[in-house]
């Protein structure tokens, strides 16, 4: 999940800090850096699924850039009239939502076969997301090591008890300006938080500071241009889309883990696969197959539907739509307001291998919705 930085969240019974009590307990109990469940797949098949290819990502990136430039051109042309609104609506989602999946896939290095293509798109998408490319590479590595392990995972989007106001505000992108932008400024000033130091190795920290300085410089230049031209237009095109185009990223991304179990070592129980419409899947680069992605992060986005067909017998039934998923999770989230140990228990099909209960019992979840 693309998440707001950990230090942006309020206090709760669980200690989501990466240097606190929950972190210590996760390390002690073996939940940190644990061995996770994987569905058995023959090596030959897995190799085929993992194969890299430049074709799909080049096609999608050419379309992506063309749509971004085209919608930006329309927005500039019609600037000052109501006709610019639909162009900004498209531009905003491409800038602020689809860049999340590009950031994600290129960060894994699986989108393109050619390494430098992954790196270039990763840097651009990180900027669009207001994310420090160095910091977030490491935070995402931690997210895959310790997915939804409290005190270890730096990218838990909705903590318990859930802050519904914050979740609602995240659709507007306003939290990015409130948390991510100040984070970039702090880092550009040479300061990393204790949580950030917990997952960024010492040898990488100066790179993180340098990256933050570049991003801040671009935002400063954009603000200067807006002042010079005495127009909001530069800010509507750079940075501003975080406010009006983030909604799709949050709509799809929130569903990745919300309401499901924490402190388990089986992605089938803490991660959700949701069937989505083709447009959302293109924007999201198939990350709706999220259990599959977490179980096998080496499989490129374009091969996830094939992977899903191969292993779905071993996974909980996917949600048939985003609407279905939100309808399912809403009462769980409401219940968590009063009782934060409550969660939605994913039922494994009869054909699936059972979960290793010995890990589950360590954290003693007090109640579950069936």
């Amino acid at each position: 999940m693309s998440a707001v930085d950990v230090d942006s969240f309020g206090k709760s019974g669980r200690d989501y800090s990466l240097v606190g009590e929950s972190s210590r307990r996760a390390i002690e109990t073996g939940l940190a850096s644990a061995e996770w469940y994987h569905t058995d797949i023959p090596r030959k098949t897995m190799k085929e699924l993992m194969q890299r290819s430049d074709g799909p990502a080049i096609r999608d990136t050419v379309i992506w850039i063309a749509l971004i430039l085209g919608s930006a051109a329309g927005a500039i042309y019609f600037w000052g009239t109501w006709w610019c609104v639909p162009f900004f609506a498209v531009y905003g989602v491409l800038y602020a939502s689809s860049s999340d999946s590009r950031w994600h896939e290129c960060g894994h290095g699986t989108a393109f076969k050619t390494r430098w293509m992954n790196d270039v798109v990763y840097q651009i998408a990180s900027f669009m997301q207001m994310r420090n490319p160095v910091q977030w590479r490491w935070s995402h590595a931690r997210h895959h090591t310790d997915t939804i392990i409290v005190g270890r995972d730096a990218e838990i989007a909705v903590m318990r008890p859930p802050d519904l106001l914050r979740a609602a505000l995240s659709f507007t992108g306003v939290l990015d300006f409130y948390y991510l932008l100040p984070t970039l400024f702090r880092q550009a000033g040479g300061r990393l938080s204790e949580d950030e130091k917990n997952y960024i190795p010492e040898m990488e920290r100066q790179k993180a500071i340098t990256a933050a300085r570049w991003q801040v410089a671009i935002y400063a230049a954009t603000a200067a241009l807006a002042l010079y031209t005495w127009s909001f237009l530069p800010l509507m095109l750079i940075g501003g889309p975080r406010l009006y185009g983030t909604w799709h990223m949050v709509l799809t991304g929130l569903l990745q883990h919300i309401g499901l179990a924490d402190n388990v070592t089986d992605h089938r129980l803490n991660t959700r696969t949701v069937y989505m419409n083709p447009i959302s899947r293109w924007i999201y680069w198939n990350m709706n197959y999220h259990v599959e992605h977490h179980m096998f992060p080496m499989v490129p986005y374009h091969a996830l539907p094939r992977l899903h067909e191969l292993i779905k017998h071993d996974l909980p039934a996917p949600n048939p739509s985003m609407w279905h998923a939100y309808k399912e999770v809403w009462p769980v989230v409401l219940r968590q307001l009063r009782y934060e140990d409550f969660y939605l228990k994913r039922e494994l099909p009869a054909s699936a291998k059972p979960y290793k209960e010995e890990f589950h019992n360590i954290t003693v979840p007090a109640a579950a919705a069936e």
Binding site: Q51, T110, A141, T145
Partner: protein
């Protein structure tokens, strides 16, 4: 003192692939390059102790299956975040159809 250990049959490893070899409590990765040469490294990624034998071999690169960290398996060199520490490599020879690795 050095020991040559029989790791596997040469045919056990597909071209441009890797397999796992465990020996006396240690784990290794045995590679067969696209040029039909054999190489050996420690079996676990230096980042998070994940078995590299589940990863993907591309030319002279092994990519870790968990975080996509990349190493040159011929030299052990780490090729960038999230791997920062090089992988230990071991001499390899093929004799009578068997892949042997030298453990020092």
């Amino acid at each position: 003192m050095t020991d040559w250990i029989e790791a596997c049959a040469a045919d056990d490893v597909d071209e441009e692939d890797v397999i796992r070899f465990d020996h006396e409590g240690r784990t290794f990765a045995i590679y067969r390059s696209p040029d039909d040469e054999y190489f050996a490294t420690d079996g676990l990624c230096t980042h998070e102790k994940v078995h590299l034998a589940d990863g993907l071999v591309m030319d002279d690169i092994i990519e870790c299956p968990k975080h996509n960290g990349r190493f040159n398996y011929k030299t052990g060199a780490a090729k960038g975040a999230p791997v920062c520490v090089n992988l230990k490599t071991y001499p390899v020879k093929v004799e009578a159809g068997m892949v042997m690795i030298q453990l020092s």
